[in-house]
Symmetry: C2
Subunit: 322 residues, 2 copies
Amino acid sequence: MTVTDPDTALPSVADVRAAAGRIRGLVHRTPVLRCAAIDRFAGAEVHLKAEHLQRAGAFKARGAANAVQSLDAATAARGVAAHSSGNHAAALALAAAGRGIPCRIVMPADAPRVKVAATRGYGAEVVFCEPTLAARESTLADLLARTGAVEIHPYDDVRVIAGAGTAACELLDDVDGLDAIVVPVGGGGLLSGTAVAASAPGTAVAVWAAEPAGADDALRSYAAGHLIPQRDPRTIADGLLTSLAPRTFRALSELAAGVIPVAEDGIVGAMGLLWERAKQVVEPSGAVPDAALGDGRFAGQRVGVVLSGGNVDLAVALDLLR
Amino acid sequence: MTVTDPDTALPSVADVRAAAGRIRGLVHRTPVLRCAAIDRFAGAEVHLKAEHLQRAGAFKARGAANAVQSLDAATAARGVAAHSSGNHAAALALAAAGRGIPCRIVMPADAPRVKVAATRGYGAEVVFCEPTLAARESTLADLLARTGAVEIHPYDDVRVIAGAGTAACELLDDVDGLDAIVVPVGGGGLLSGTAVAASAPGTAVAVWAAEPAGADDALRSYAAGHLIPQRDPRTIADGLLTSLAPRTFRALSELAAGVIPVAEDGIVGAMGLLWERAKQVVEPSGAVPDAALGDGRFAGQRVGVVLSGGNVDLAVALDLLR
C-alpha cells in the first residue's frame, strides 16, 4: 500500500480484496435478506446485507479480523487494545481470540451490559473508566504503556476500513444492478470501506451515509467541506455517537454521494419495521440506514442496506418499541 | 395421487415435488441461517431453515398456496375459508389474494392482535366467534353453507401437507449430510410434509417432532399407537395447541423418529437465544424445535430445524423474555 499522508490514507480496492481473502473463514459471509414490508416502506427494492448476523453481531468483526491478521508475529504477541463502548470491543476480542493473542478493552462504566458480556465472553480483559472521552483516552494510553499492546482503532485505521469494505464486496457480488448502498455513519469506517469497494472499475453505485440528526457531524462536515467534530450527541443510536476522523472524512467527501439525517422517531419506526416485519433483531444504530429510506428518496431504485449491529438489551429495545 | 383411505391419505414424494413447482414464485425460498451460540447450546451443527421469513411470516404460506393453486377454476371462484387463530389465517388470505379469489376466516375473539391485522392486511374477511372449538366449527359451517366457499383445513389436507413439505425439500437441497430434521408439531401438517419429503429414496434423515409438554398429544399418541386428542392444552406456544388428525398421526407413527416434549421454561430460553444471539424474531411456537435440542440428544450431529413462525406481539414477547 502506498501511503502519502498517513492521517488521511485510505485503502485501495485491491486492499479491500486482499482483506476479503485474509479474513475468509474468520468471519461469516452474511446472507442478503428481503422484506416486502420494507420494500413498500421505501418504495424501492431493498436488499438487506445482514451484518447483524456477523460474528460478534456486527460488521466490526471484519475490520478487527483484518487488522489483527495483518500484524507481524512479534507485534501480535504483545496483544491488542482499544477503547470502545460498542461493537468494536467484542469484535476485537473475537479477532484476538482467533489469533490466540491477548486483548484489553477500555470501556466506559455505562457501556451496554450486553456488549460488556460479549467482550468478556470472547476472552478479553475489560478495564472500566469514567464515561468521558478524556478518561477513555488516558486509560487506554496507560494500558498501552504498561502492556506494550498495540492499539487497533475502531475506524481510523486503513486495515480496519479495508476489512469493513468486504461487506460491500459481498453485497455487490450477490446483488446485480444496485443503484445505491446506504450505510450508517458514526466514525465512518464502514462508510469509508463501502465507498472504496464501490469505487472499483465497472461499479456504478452511489454510496450514502445515514446518521442520526442528533449526531450529525457527518452531514455538517460534508456540507462545510471540512471536518466538524461531534459535540453533545443526542440519539438512541448509541453506536453512532463518535466523530469522523480526517481519514474517514476524506472518504466521505471524495467518494460518497451524500449524508441523510434521520430523526429519532424515524429510527424507532424503522427498528419496529425490522423487528416486526423483517423479523430481525437490530440495535437502534443498525436501523438508521433503513430509516433513511422512509422519505421515498430511493423510489424505484435497487438499494443495498448494511444492517448492523444486532447487539441490544432486549428489555431496552422493547421499551423503545412499545 | 392414489387415495385409498381419504382420511389418512398422505401426499407422495412426487406430490411434494409437484407442490414445489406449483408454488414457485408465490412463496419465498427462505435462507438457512447458522448461529454459533445455538450450535453450542445443542452441541451440534444446527441449520435453521428460516420459515419465519416466509411470506406471511410462517411455513403455512406453502400449504395454503399449494391448496389454493390446486383448486379448479369453478371451485376457486367461490372462495376459500377456514377457522384459524394463527398463521394459517394470514397464509390462506395471502394465497387467496394471489389467485384473486375471496377468503373468509373464522377467528376466536381472543386471537393475537398481530395475526388478525395480518389476515385483514391480505384482504380477507375476518368473522369473530367465541374462543371454543365448537363455536369455531359451527361458525365456519354456517359460513360455508352461506357462501359456497371451500374449506382449506390448516393441516388435515393432502395439498396443505404437500406444500408444507417443500420447506424440507429446500433444506435437504441446501444442506448436505443432515442427520436429523426437527420440526414443531401442533396439528401435524409440517411434520407430515417434512416426513414425506425426507422419505425420498436416497435420503436418510430422521424427522423428529418437538412439542410443548403442556400440549403433548403427539407424544402420548405416538407412545400409545393410536390418536389421543389434546384436552386443555397449557402452553405459551399458541400455534401448537391443536390435536393431530388421523392423517397426520399416520405420518407421525409411520414416518417420524419420535416426539420430543419441551418444558415451558425451555421454550422461553430457546426463544431468548434466538432473539439475543441468532437475532431472529420468532414466536414461542417457533422456538419449540430449538428448545428440543437443549438436552444434547443431537450432540455431534448435523441437524436441520424449521424455524416458524415469526408473528408475535413484541410487547407480549418482552413480557416473556424479561
